[in-house]
């Protein structure tokens, strides 16, 4: 145990995902060692983010106003919506520069073990959007995990009957890599999910 304020910061930091007690200790002492304005800038950044950032009222991406920058953008294709688990997944899809549609952030994936059922995810909000927005296709980009797959299946079962096109991202080999370097797990899966030429 360290002096009260130091230990308090260590405790707070170690609550963050991916930070163990040792890393928390290292970070805390780093923050103690740097110039005071640098440390306060970190504190202010945390403050500002929590004060100023809200969730987009339409897609639940992070936003600095009522709507996020993507939902405000008039040039985007409103007929396609990419359904993701978390706001940070949007950044990944955006980086491809290949996608010009909108998004919908579910806020997680189905996981009864963690008490997450459909009621805890933003399915009602998605349903409401389908009624008002003229959406024609849902691209499901949930994680390729057991929970992400189950969530994708749920979306297909719930929304396909409404006459929408529902698609799922393909999974398989990394592009541009040698087959030789693909691990057997990925290659095994890619074989099982092979497609006709």
């Amino acid at each position: 145990m360290f002096e009260g304020p130091v230990q308090r910061l260590i405790d707070e930091l170690s609550r963050l995902p991916g930070i163990g007690s040792k890393s928390a200790q290292r970070l805390a002492f780093h923050i103690l060692a740097i110039e005071k304005p640098d440390a306060l800038r970190l504190a202010a950044a945390i403050n500002d983010m929590r004060d100023q950032v809200t969730l987009c009222e339409r897609c639940f991406n992070v936003a600095a106003g009522e709507l996020c920058s993507i939902c405000r953008d008039q040039r985007r294709d409103d007929s396609v919506v990419c359904v993701v688990e978390r706001p940070q997944d949007i950044v990944v899809v955006e980086r491809t520069q290949e996608y010009r549609g909108g998004y919908h952030v579910l806020g997680g994936s189905l996981s009864p073990i963690n008490g997450v059922g459909p009621g805890q995810l933003r399915f009602d909000e998605l349903r409401a959007r389908l009624q008002t927005e003229g959406i024609e296709e849902l691209i499901v980009a949930t994680n390729p995990t057991v929970e992400g797959d189950a969530t994708a299946m749920y979306i297909a079962r719930e929304f396909k009957p409404l006459g929408l096109r529902v698609t799922r991202l393909a999974s398989g080999l990394p592009v541009g890599g040698d087959l030789d370097y693909a691990d057997e797990l990925t290659l095994g899966r890619a074989l099982a999910g092979r497609s006709e030429l």
Binding site: G20, P112, P118, A150, M153, E184, G188
Partner: protein, 364 residues
């Protein structure tokens, strides 16, 4: 395949071990508690990513330390590879092959292949069905590393579906989603098990007759409550359909019992000798011979599939066998195979090899 060298840091009783086993037969000799099994366990861990002794990874970490490190040089026909794995008490495992970090620890599977024989494996025939399910699944991973993914997805799906049933929620769409996820993964697990059985059956009969020095009709049986009659050899997709139908039919029971009462996780693999069920109608001698033959068959199946011999680990097995059976096993051991044998009583060992003395945190 062979382990050229092994280095352990804070693994069970070893603070720091550097050991270069012989490429042929190694006899690790030392009193009980000296740390012989720990060496075998660490090699088994590299091959299967789990301890063959305990369910929890943190058990392998020395009590004075926050993490264990296993490093090994693995030689195979065409190349040498360096495996490094760190098992921390908190957080995920870190693995490297040839100094390259793996995105997923599971990618390590297949770099080293191992068949392990532990004293409790001798009871393989008469123990509960879970033990024999694990055996088939473990062999599947050694044969086809991607089976590991199927198995962990299946386990996870069963746990998720059970959690849903326990939650008291009665949303039919959500249950249907978990049914279908579970059936998909279950179909793949099932297809692997049946392929393991098909591959091993002829080899099992052969090894059995070598050890027992008599011909007998031995076979591997498999009974699944979700399949009527004999289990057919069909595709993963067809098994998945059958599992899905069974889950739907059992829905009411599952809601009541708040658990998944049907599927590959409840199946019962077994063995037969002639017309007899080996679990209830075979002598203890026959059961032990079957268990030994099954491991040798697994070793042979992997050798045939890869044109390379897996490392064989025999933990204190000979002392559990009567002299005749011990001799027969020694005679049936595969050739050109790196073999690690532990024993507290070297005079009991019917095989010869390089002798190592194990004790006080060292092998020398």
């Amino acid at each position: 395949m062979r382990v050229d060298w092994l280095s352990l840091v804070d693994f069970r009783s070893y603070r720091a071990l550097d050991w270069r086993p012989d490429p042929t037969v190694n006899l690790l000799i030392g009193p009980n508690g000296a740390g012989k099994t720990n060496v075998l366990e660490s090699i088994g861990y590299l091959a299967s990513l789990k301890s063959f002794r305990s369910a929890s990874d943190s058990d392998v970490i020395s009590r004075w330390s926050g993490s264990s490190v296993i490093r090994a040089g693995i030689g195979s026909i065409d190349r040498e590879r360096l495996i490094e794995i760190e098992i921390p008490r908190e957080g995920g495992r870190r693995t490297q092959v040839d100094k390259t970090k793996l995105k997923r620890t599971a990618e390590l599977l297949g770099v080293l292949r191992v068949v392990a024989f532990l004293p409790e494996d001798l009871d393989l025939v008469k123990r509960g069905p879970a033990y024999r399910r694990d055996l088939l699944d473990d062999i599947a991973v050694q044969l086809w590393p991607s089976a590991y993914l199927d198995q962990s997805e299946y386990d996870r799906s069963v746990r998720q579906r059970n959690a849903f049933l326990k939650s008291g929620d009665r949303d039919e769409v959500t249950l249907a989603v978990w049914d279908s996820r579970l059936a998909q993964a279950g179909g793949r697990v099932m297809a692997r098990r049946i392929r393991v059985i098909e591959t091993l059956t002829p080899l099992l009969a052969e090894s059995y007759s070598v050890i027992a020095s008599e011909d007998a009709q031995v076979g591997i049986t498999y009974s699944a409550s979700w399949i009527e009659g004999a289990v057919p050899s069909v595709s993963a997709g067809e098994y998945a359909d059958a599992i899905a139908r069974a889950l739907e039919a059992r829905r009411r029971v599952d809601y009541e019992r708040r658990m998944t009462t049907v599927g590959p996780h409840r199946d019962e693999p077994g063995f037969s000798i002639g017309e007899r069920d080996a679990r209830t109608q075979a002598s203890q001698g026959e059961q032990r011979t079957l268990a030994l033959a099954m491991k040798l068959a697994a070793h042979q199946a992997i050798t045939q599939a890869l044109s390379e011999t897996p490392v064989l680990l025999l933990d204190d097995v000979f002392s559990e066998l009567d002299p005749n059976r011990a001799e027969a096993l020694a005679g049936a051991l595969p050739e050109n195979t790196q073999t690690l044998v532990t024993s507290a009583r070297p005079e009991d060992l019917p095989i010869s090899g390089k002798v190592w003395s194990v004790g006080e945190g060292d092998v020398g």
